[in-house]
Symmetry: C2
Subunit: 243 residues, 2 copies
C-alpha cells in the first residue's frame, strides 16, 4: 500500500512534535549507530527512499555527495524537507518508492530510514534497488524491528497497575498488514520476519555488511520512555553492498 | 559456563523422550530448513560442536564426508551418539567446545546445532572457528532465537483461563545468563542479541550466506503445540562462509 498518513494534517502536526522531527538526526535514538553504517559520500550519487524531512539527504550532501535525490509520498513532508533541509545538491521529488524507475547503475548509495515497513511488497523493491545501484554500491536502511511489528499494536503489555510487564510478540510468521497506533492515530504498517528482510537482500545480489539493532544511546536515557527501550528491539539497521 | 545438564540422569531421560531424540532429524522441526543450508559434504573434514546424539555427524558421513569429529561435553550424549549414530568416518570426542584447539585450516565445515546458547563467550569461540576453517569453508549453526531467550523463562504468557496470550520479550539488550525451565528442569542458557550473533561473524571474517528463522513444517503441524510455533520465532539458523 502506498501509505500517506503523513499528509493527514493532524498526524503531520503530531509528527512534527517528535524529538526526531524537532531536533533532526540528533533527536533520533538510532542515529549514532546508523551513522556508523553510512559510506563515504564524497562524489557519490545518492537516493533516499522515503526521505521525510530530508535530514539524511542534507547530511549526505554536506558530506560531499555530488547529487542526492530524496523521494517521499507526502507533499507536506517534502515541503518541510525543502524548507528545513534544502541544499544545492539535493532534489526532493514526490513519488511512491514502488513507482520509481531509473536506469541500471544510476546510484552509488541508496538510503532509507524507517520507511520500508509502509511498503507491502519488499522483494520487487529490493530487486529494483539492486538494479539502480552500481556494483560495489551501498544500500543502508532502517526499519522497525520484526519483534516490534509482529504483534501489531506496537505497545507494551501492562499490568493492572499500569506498569510495563513486557513486550508482546505474536503471529510472528504471519507477515502482512498490521494496524498500529502511532502518535495516537491508526497507521497501517507491514510486518515482515527478519528472515524475509535478510534473505531478500541475499537473494537479490547483496552482501550483508552489518545487521544492527540499535540500543538507546547513553546520553538520551533520560528522555521519557527511553530506558524501557533496553527491554525490546525497536529498530533494525542493515547495510549491504551490491555485488 | 560449560553447561553439562545432559549428564544429569533425570534430565537426560526426559531429553530422550523428545520427538527430536526419538526420531532424529525427522523429528526436529527445523531440520528441513537446516538441511537446505548444509554444504556438499563429499570429501570434507567436518567438525560438529555440541553434537548431542550425533544425528548431524552421521548425516554428514553418510553424505560423503571424509571425516567427522563430533564433540560434546556430555558423556551420556556421546554414549548414545556412538550407539545410535556410529559410522566409520565419525569420531566422537568428549570436550567443552571452548577448550578445543586445532591447527589453522583443519576443517572444511563446522556445524553446531542448538548448542551455542549454552556458551558464555561467543566471540572467542567464533574467532577459533574462523581459524580452524579453511578459506571458503562453511560454518552452519542453529541457536535458540534471541526473541526466545530474551525474557528468560522461554514460556508463553498465559491468560487467566490458561490460554496463550502471546510470547513475552524483555531485557533484550541485557545479554547473559538466563535460567529457563526445559523439560521441567532448570537450565542455564545465555541470551545474545541478533546483533551480537551476526556482527560477531562479520567481524571474524565470515560472509553471511543465509539467516533463517525456521517455521514449523506443514507435516508436523499436528504435533502438540506446533501450531503455536507460528506465533514466535524459536530458532535462528545461520550459514556463513569463511572468506
Amino acid at each position: 500500500m502506498k501509505e500517506n498518513k503523513y499528509d493527514d494534517a493532524r498526524f503531520f502536526e503530531k509528527y512534527g512534535e517528535m524529538e526526531r522531527s524537532r531536533r533532526g538526526l540528533a533527536g533520533a535514538g538510532e542515529w549514532p549507530e546508523l551513522q556508523k553504517l553510512l559510506p563515504d559520500f564524497r562524489g557519490k550519487a545518492v537516493l533516499d527512499l522515503g526521505c521525510g524531512y530530508g535530514w539524511h539527504c542534507r547530511y549526505a550532501a554536506e558530506h560531499g555527495a555530488a547529487s542526492v535525490l530524496g523521494t517521499d509520498l507526502s507533499r507536506r513532508m517534502l515541503e518541510t524537507a525543502r524548507r528545513k533541509n534544502g541544499h544545492e545538491n539535493v532534489v526532493y521529488q514526490r513519488a511512491a518508492m514502488e513507482d520509481l524507475a531509473f536506469p541500471p547503475g544510476t546510484f552509488d548509495v541508496v538510503l532509507s530510514s524507517l520507511a520500508f515497513h509502509y511498503v507491502r511488497d519488499f522483494a520487487p523493491l529490493v530487486g529494483n534497488i539492486a538494479l539502480w545501484l552500481r556494483a560495489g554500491g551501498a544500500f543502508v536502511f532502517s526499519v522497525e524491528h520484526p519483534v516490534f511489528t509482529a504483534y501489531g499494536t506496537q505497545d507494551w503489555y501492562y499490568g493492572e497497575d499500569g506498569t510495563i510487564l513486557h513486550f508482546p510478540v505474536d503471529n510472528y510468521y504471519c507477515e502482512g498488514e498490521r494496524e498500529a497506533v502511532f502518535l495516537g492515530e491508526r497507521v497501517v504498517k507491514y510486518h515482515r520476519t527478519l528472515t524475509t528482510y535478510l534473505e531478500t537482500l541475499l537473494r537479490s545480489g547483496f552482501a550483508l555488511r552489518h545487521v544492527v539493532e540499535p540500543r538507546p544511546p547513553e546520553e538520551m536515557m533520560d528522555l521519557p520512555g527511553m530506558r524501557d527501550e533496553m527491554r525490546r528491539p525497536m529498530m533494525l539497521l542493515v547495510s549491504a553492498e551490491k555485488i
